[in-house]
Symmetry: C2
Subunit: 298 residues, 2 copies
DNA sequence: TATGATATGCTCAACTAGAGCATAATTAGG
DNA sequence: CCTAATTATGCTCTAGTTGAGCATATCATA
């Protein structure tokens, strides 16, 4: 059996939330995601990345999950005849560790249309206008394109869906509205990144937004003890949405995800808030996987 | 920046359901998953795999999704100094195409404890007994191991969770109950596969079981038109569970996933069943992503 | 002491999911 | 033709979940 040869590279999407802003670790003044060679010495991909991030950033990575492996021919072909395989990972870094140090950029710089916490962002009007033009430009695919734009950006009655971050970026790419796609810089929406790094970031955002709904990974971004509002703001930052406060607490408490530390915090000027800590044991005692199948007990 | 070199390989988990049995495409008489080199000629990983599968199996692949990339040092080091990166994919093949031809093996041969359609399989008693021994063998980690076994195999009150297929295999591996882990063949549970192929298959099963709950991918496994019972049996085969018939139809119909073709089928000896077809437009008109966040409309 | 702010408790209505009864439309056997 | 067996399909009832919002508690500060 013939075996293909390739260059292997690791790319990390490291996320932290500080000051109610989700941030991603970057290099080159925010123009690229940190990446490095896949060294032979490492036992596994995970351990390789973990060591390497530790070394580069001095922050321990809590949660680490493989994102996607890219190897398209058109990316990054600086080595003729060869090919680069990029294995990307999503890592979550504790708030305190990943504080305001250089290299951390708010992820909504790159995706200004994704933050709906202050209501629908104004950019969306421009985006939709330009997507309309793009759709109309091809009479054959016109209808399909309009439906796709409406659906992806929540104009089809279904409303905005925060999980579709990647699909939105891909649509903008296809429509030539981001300069990575080869359009002029003046036409670009949001901040650009090297090669396909912004796409990888979008992959990470979408994955994280989906994941926080069925796995207790948010806590990897939190300090040891926190108030429920702090937890809520962190999730809101990630999802780019605001949540209903009372229902949020109900959800958290009924799932037994946290326990009171006994302490309180009165930083905020109102009634002091109880402090909570994550119940690490839930990781081994609960499925947390919601079934959507109509089971029969038989 | 140094770049690591590696050999790149694609591995496919191709799934079809025939005769109410989920099957996986294999080579070497069921001992390995089909795999092939990542050729330079291919534009993307996906297209490379698609062509290659087409060529090998003569079946068109409907849905194709990247599963995971493995590159641990201990796997498959037949080339000294080098390293193999295996990029695995999950592919769904239409019932008719992937029919009873050779190469297709029922996946419960490899994971007999995963099929709960006829009730709790008897093997589970033996498995739990051996897991208890394993847990007791290390006094320090005893409690943790017992909790993990109970949770993974549904003895903790939470009940059996079909999504945990991968975790169950990994637990058995750790406990040395499958011969891939180095235990003797006589100790092995289920049918063995080459290298870590059974683990990759478990990854595919777990992914597919989770996916059918929030994305309409089952239809990739169905013929053009089908009865609702046929659809139900297919899902039951994948999940390894039986479903409540009336509630199943309610779920499918209220989601507008299918439409009547007008025809009926009376193969089964009872009242003829209406035939349905998948409404392909739902792929572009609906999010189908259930939010678990308590949104505020503000 | 009043006011503003945040925290926290509680209710209510709409909807969803699990379970099972009832009826309809066939085929097979007498 | 009549009856039983078999599968399809419709409907109901109940418990639980979710979205929304009112009410009360506890603090800082003017």
């Amino acid at each position: 059996m013939t075996i293909g040869f390739a260059h292997a590279e690791l790319i990390a999407v490291l996320v932290a939330v500080t000051g109610d802003e989700p941030r991603v670790m970057t290099i080159r003044s925010g123009n690229a995601l940190p990446s490095g060679p896949f060294e032979m010495g490492h036992r596994t991909l995970q351990s390789g990345l973990r060591e390497w991030v530790q070394e580069q950033t001095e922050h321990p990575v809590g949660y680490l999950e493989q994102l996607y492996t890219f190897a398209d021919r058109d990316r990054n072909n600086d080595i003729p005849g060869g090919r680069t395989i990029s294995i990307s990972y999503l890592g979550l870094v504790n708030e305190q560790s990943g504080a305001g140090r250089p290299g951390w950029h708010g992820w909504y710089e790159y995706f200004p249309w994704e933050d709906h916490r202050q209501g629908r962002p104004a950019v969306l009007d421009e985006i939709m206008a330009r997507l309309r033009n793009w759709a109309d430009a091809d009479p054959a695919r016109r209808d399909h394109r309009h439906r796709r734009a409406d659906f992806t950006f929540g104009l089809d009655g279904g409303g905005w869906n925060e999980d579709l971050a990647l699909q939105r970026y891909e649509l903008l790419y296809e429509a030539g509205l981001v300069s990575e796609a080869g359009c002029g810089v003046e036409a670009n929406l949001g901040r650009t990144m090297f090669a396909d790094h912004r796409r990888i970031l979008a992959t990470g955002i979408a994955r994280l937004r989906a994941k926080i709904k069925y796995r207790p990974v948010v806590f990897e971004l939190m300090p040891e003890s926190f108030t429920l509002l702090r937890l809520q703001r962190t999730i809101e930052a990630l999802a780019g949405l605001t949540l209903h406060k009372q229902n949020f607490r109900r959800l958290i408490e009924q799932q037994d995800l946290v326990e009171e530390t006994g302490g309180t915090e009165s930083e905020t000027g109102g009634r002091p808030a109880k402090l909570f800590r994550f119940r690490h044991t839930v990781l081994e005692e609960r499925a947390l996987a919601g079934t959507k199948l109509p089971l029969s007990r038989n």
